[in-house]
Amino acid sequence: MKPLLKVIQFYKNENTLLEKVAKNNREAQHVLFQMHAPKMLSVCRYYIKDIQNAEEVMLNGFFKVFSNLKGFRAEGSFEGWIRKIMVRECLSFLRQQKQVEFILEEVGFKNDYANNIQSDIDVAQIQQLIDELPEGYKMVFIMYAIEGYKHHEIADMLNITEGTSKSQLFKARNLLQQKINKLNKTSYGTK
């Protein structure tokens, strides 16, 4: 019973916090920011290589969160709602930065998954590999593999066809795998 009560207590606290935030209480906004900013900055960093830009986008996202908190319905989780706003902010930032190209050329590479090796790679290396992906690949891959969006949702958000989304994911996977293999080979080579 105790953990359940704790959870209820937590929700109550979050609800009162959100009420305060909605009333433009600066202190409550600061608490909410401190609670979610590190995770959201990490999410923004998935898409945006430059950490300063990522932070700027995250601040824009939080600004929208505070301005539109009345639009949040307590149906889903609050973190999920913030995260959606952050992802949209990142996508619009990338669109503003440069024309996002969804490369349609087939990258000639055979599927050669080396699942057992991945545990050796740390987060920074994964992020680096993702950063190196072409913009279109990267967006679709993160949205599908990490955010958990469906292809039709991705197609809607990126204003592309569902087929393009699928092909971009396929190509992103291949390229990422290729890069991981390369990384592993070099690391083995050094051994």
């Binding site: 600066r26 900055l41 990490s42 932070e55 939080f62 301005s67 998954y113 992020q127 990490i146």
Partner: protein, 256 residues
């Protein structure tokens, strides 16, 4: 299945990651929030101000439109100048006594005596405007009253200017009557002198009344137009012509 596992692995690793924002990140966001709050407040102040001014304009307008008919219906404003007029008359009567002397000095000594006498009476009995006529004769006064009953009474409700002119007309008629009583022939020169004097009085009265004692340049310029002079002169002649016979008979009856 392999890609899913691969992605799952990446996802797990990435999702565990958190990145601390820079120290001034919150300060930046706070500044932005503050500035928007101010803008919002300014907006609300602007709208409240706009609403208040509209309400104010409506109130003033409604008061203005409601008062307009009331102003027309109440005779209070017409009565007040009447009271002022009587006060002015007393002052002017005094002035008349001083102004009259040099004018009449050029004329016969007997008439001069009479005019000053009458003028003095004006100053003494200035409370009631019809008293000077009583001094001449009861009959004349009655006749005057009759005339005024017919003509002057309705004029009292009109503008002050007209009433004052009426009074002057009556004074001139009374003066002519006095001259006649003394059996002196009324020459054109005498009549002109009387008329000029009366005109001056009216002009002065107008100047004083318009600016409460201060002579107005615009009024002076308007005098040059000489519109008033003509109308007044016409009026006097009209009055003389219309009433002379009536006054004459009244005097004749007294003599009998």
């Amino acid at each position: 299945m392999a890609p899913n596992k691969f992605e799952e692995n990446i996802k797990n690793k990435l999702e565990k990651r958190t990145i601390q924002p820079s120290k001034d990140a919150w300060a930046k966001l706070e500044n932005r929030l503050d500035s928007t709050d101010k803008r919002r407040k300014n907006k609300t102040i602007f709208w409240i101000g706009l609403a208040a001014s509209i309400v104010g304009i409506l109130l003033v307008a409604s008061q203005f439109f409601n008062e307009a008919p009331l102003e027309n219906s109440t005779p209070v404003l017409v009565v007040t100048p009447e009271a002022i007029k009587q006060n002015d008359n007393t002052e002017l009567a005094k002035e008349e006594s001083t102004v009259e002397e040099p004018i009449s000095s050029s004329e016969e000594p007997t008439t001069e005596m009479q005019t000053t006498k009458i003028a003095v009476k004006y100053t003494i009995n200035s409370e009631a405007k019809r008293e000077p006529f009583k001094a001449v004769s009861n009959e004349v006064a009655q006749a005057e009253n009759n005339i005024e009953g017919q003509e002057a009474e309705p004029d009292e409700l009109q503008l002050q200017n007209l009433s004052f002119e009426e009074l002057k007309i009556q004074q001139v008629i009374a003066h002519v009557q006095i001259l006649k009583d003394q059996d002196s022939a009324i020459s054109d020169a005498d009549l002109d002198a009387l008329l000029n004097q009366a005109q001056n009085d009216i002009e002065q009265e107008k100047l004083y009344r318009e600016n409460s004692g201060i002579v107005d340049a615009r009024s002076l310029l308007q005098d040059v137009e000489a519109d008033l002079d003509r109308t007044f002169r016409d009026k006097v002649f009209e009055a003389l012509r219309a009433n002379f016979n009536f006054v004459k008979t009244a005097v004749a009856q007294r003599n009998d």
